[in-house]
Symmetry: C2
Subunit: 87 residues, 2 copies
DNA sequence: GTTCTTAATGCCATATATGACAAGTTGGTA
DNA sequence: TACCAACTTGTCATATATGGCATTAAGAAC
């Protein structure tokens, strides 16, 4: 069974992932890129499927993935991290 | 066989991971924490083994892991990302 | 109606992050 | 010498990020 702290940790994780996903989506749309555009601009291969999953907070991306996303969006990782945390 | 761009991508990844690992180590040592201390301060479970691997750039941590590390080090994720890029 | 773009979602395979533990190393201190 | 703390490294299992592809849905055009 899941303890209260495990549930709280999962909520913290979900809030983080949703915040970052929203941040990415916002930056992407400000640039006028589609998810396909963004994946195409990234270093190496990256599947549009995963862009969708990251933007909606369904996966927990690695720092290298976020680095490549930031690069494709022409912002620094620091700028990518300027999101408002959900409670 | 690995193409030139695959090799370049791997080098980019390694440089990123080493930069972030060094940044974490520096912040940790400034706080006077051992790796055991840091792992103990993190939300949820985290193994000291993995602290070592992250600090030396041998693994590609997820954003949630970095979030928990930042939290344990009492800095924001943005501050954690203030590292000097290699090369 | 159809067609096109965009995005979401489901499934499967592979690579790897992490958990967990044992063993080795290094530096200090006695 | 021995001991101890901090760290590294190896191995294995499990969870999951990502690659890849098919399908679905919604909206905008025509």
């Amino acid at each position: 069974m899941a303890s209260n702290s495990e549930i709280a940790l999962k909520k913290t994780r979900n809030n983080l992932l949703i915040s970052i996903g929203s941040r990415i989506q916002k930056l992407r749309e400000n640039k006028g890129f589609s998810q396909v555009d963004l994946a195409a601009r990234m270093l190496g291969k990256f599947d549009t499927t995963n862009i969708s999953r990251i933007e909606s907070g369904r996966t927990n991306p690695t720092i290298f993935t976020l680095y490549r996303i930031a690069n494709a969006l022409e912002v620094s990782i620091k700028e990518l991290m300027e999101f408002e945390a959900l409670e």
